[in-house]
């Protein structure tokens, strides 16, 4: 089994729920557990929110691109923005590190992504943008007949 989807949308906060719901609908074909679905929705929400708040600093002219690939029981997700980028990725992924404490961010987004997924990778170029790649193998979706 293999499948693929790609969606691009404006960096508006009202699209955060659109993004996570869309990915959840797409991966439903893998028959994920409720917990797996919640994990995927949460990490999509984290990465898209980061693109909007940090990548574009809430400039709604930016766009966010999500690609999702399914292969057998594996999901691969990339969330990309073309915004500010990250100067120091090692610092950014530290739990509790945030560059925007005044916006009530708590620096947990990357920690959540790392915890909820099997694989997590950031590629970022200052002033060009950031791509987050997330992978996970679904465990509980073995249909009895295949």
């Amino acid at each position: 089994m293999s499948n693929f989807m790609k969606v691009e949308f404006a960096a508006k906060s009202e699209n955060e729920s659109f993004a996570r719901t869309t990915v959840a609908a797409f991966i439903a074909q893998l028959d994920p557990t409720v917990e797996e679905l919640t994990e995927i929705k949460t990490v999509v929400s984290e990465a898209v929110t980061n693109a909007i708040i940090h990548g574009y600093e809430e400039n709604e002219k930016g766009t966010v691109l999500i690609e999702c690939e399914l292969k057998d029981d594996n999901i691969s997700l990339t969330i990309r923005d073309f915004g500010n980028g990250i100067e120091d990725v090692d610092e950014a992924i530290q739990p509790m590190y945030t560059s925007k404490p005044e916006l009530e961010r708590s620096g947990m987004g990357f920690t959540i992504m790392e915890n909820f997924m099997d694989h997590f990778e950031i590629e970022s170029i200052p002033n060009h943008g950031t791509t987050v790649t997330l992978r996970k193998k679904f465990l509980n979706n073995q249909s009895a007949y295949n």
Binding site: T42, S45, T111
Partner: protein, 119 residues
């Protein structure tokens, strides 16, 4: 457009009871924060109980809102207690270490009793 988060506030003596329903993300966080802050400044509130029974989805934006209000409650000398937390939201609280500072109890009655409100 349907609201993805709704909430109501109820004053019980010096305790502000906040009930959240729906999904709490960055899009919803700002309005919740502003409304919540106006209740904290009403002069009647010392403690806060947050009922999370019907909060179906939350991400780090929610953690930020709770941590922000926790600090404000501490400043007025009060306590914040959460109740009826579901499994998904509980995982985020655990990951972020929020349980080290905010107590979680079974339900509203237990939370109010903890804060000395006679039922």
């Amino acid at each position: 457009m349907a609201l993805s988060l709704t909430y109501d506030f109820e004053q019980k003596q010096d305790v502000l009871l906040v009930r959240l329903t729906g999904e709490l993300d960055h899009h919803e966080a700002e309005q919740l924060k502003n409304d919540w802050q106006s209740y904290l400044q009403n002069g009647m509130t010392k403690h806060v109980v947050v009922n999370l029974e019907n909060l179906y989805f939350m991400d780090s934006s929610g953690l930020g809102v709770f941590l922000g209000r926790y600090k404000e409650v501490k400043e007025i000398g009060g306590e914040m207690v959460i109740c009826s937390i579901n499994y998904d939201v509980q995982r985020l609280f655990e990951l972020s270490g929020l349980f080290k500072i905010i107590d979680a109890v079974e339900n509203e009655a237990a939370a109010l009793a903890r804060l000395g409100v006679a039922l």
